[in-house]
Symmetry: C2
Subunit: 238 residues, 2 copies
């Protein structure tokens, strides 16, 4: 793994601590990614047991967030990091908060899937496939961008969200048409709508993390900036 | 305002900086509170102009978040705070992130309200009243708890969320019944459902902030703990 110029630290122990906390974040991200992938697979194959496992595994993600939080606080208190190290730690604080909330969204999807399986109402769930795969690709890309603090990949995630938003809107329109055509199916279609919204929120959170990466690499806060303006700002700087 | 033992700092300037950043957070919270109150009023009175204003004012909240973020980074870099000061700054980082996302939810509510007014579809929006008032009360209580770092008020917010969740569930069931009875009304009822979910999320975020306050006061991480367990843990410690 790229050491991000960490060799310049006088204290080798400080390097190790920063590296350890970055690895913890990647582990946490890996867990969330696995949860999301499993939730999509559970939906695709109507796998009741897998959906159950998703609910059980969310606690591990929550625990990791608290551990990483604590590690970051320890590092700030002990090492009094400045400039770029501090920016990295701030980026980590924010990233794990988004990862944890993504975990909650996946848990919601798992819960909806379970309920749908139990009531034999899973027939519309598969319409989540496209949006789900797009959001999973965003999560993979943003974790990869985080691992390498890769600016280009982060900007790409920012752009991928536009497609996820369009997929979400198309799906919402389609599901509302179903409901109007067959009102008895409203409860099961609603479940799919909630899950679609959860997926869309996960995409938004991937975009948040992409922004923290850009903030770390460029020292530039790009929240609340459009994709076009972002591209322009970054190219203008290079 | 209670100075939270800040007088113990050797540097009077450090005190002033911490105090200034806390005031910024309260300003930001005040803005979000005003936005939420106005969105409920816009819904109640079908006030198109007020809903427009809500959309325009969200940018100010986003800007405040970035300013406070920057102030916190400056304080960490310059003052190298330890222990309780560091916990306060961490709590602030997290609090403003939740406040900003609440602002986004209110903006969504404003957008839905505008769309509903334009299409003359506002008749179900008023059913948001109870949930909206409960969530507004939670937000007021949690900002008050933050201003005074008041543990009891924070615990109370944690408990208020249970009622908000019940109100949200009752409303969801009621709205789904409407949709089944009159499928032509589905688009307008869906708008109310999205807004109800936004309100429920704002309540969740108030609960998050309550947990950061408890973390600051007790030095104890109470995320992912039930209300009962929380009460028990806090009483056991006192």
């Amino acid at each position: 793994m790229d050491k991000l110029n960490m060799s310049r630290h006088i204290s080798g122990k400080f390097n190790d601590e920063l590296e350890a906390v970055r690895n913890q974040v990647l582990n946490m991200g890996g867990l969330v990614e696995q949860q999301l992938r499993d939730s999509l697979r559970a939906i695709e194959t109507s796998d009741h047991d897998l959906a159950e496992q998703i609910l059980q595994r969310d606690a591990a993600i929550n625990k990791l967030e608290m551990q990483i939080d604590e590690s970051c606080v320890q590092i700030i208190a002990k090492r009094q990091p400045a400039a770029s190290d501090l920016r990295l730690i701030i980026a980590i604080f924010k990233t794990i908060s988004d990862l944890e909330r993504m975990g909650d969204e996946v848990e919601r999807i798992g819960r909806v899937a379970l309920e749908s399986f139990s009531n034999d109402q899973q027939d519309f769930l598969v319409s989540l496939e496209n949006l789900g795969q797009q959001v999973l690709a965003m999560l993979q890309k943003v974790l990869d961008a985080f691992a390498r603090m890769d600016l280009d990949a982060a900007v790409e995630v920012h752009q991928m969200d536009a497609l996820a938003d369009r997929q979400y809107e198309a799906l919402t329109r389609q599901l509302m048409t179903y409901m109007m055509e067959d009102p008895r199916g409203i409860p099961k279609v609603m479940n799919v709508l909630w899950s679609a919204r959860s997926l869309e929120r996960i995409g938004d959170r991937c975009q948040n993390i992409a922004e923290y990466i850009i903030f770390f690499v460029k020292g530039k806060d790009v929240r609340h900036v459009s994709s076009d303006a972002l591209r322009q700002a970054l190219t203008g700087q290079q």
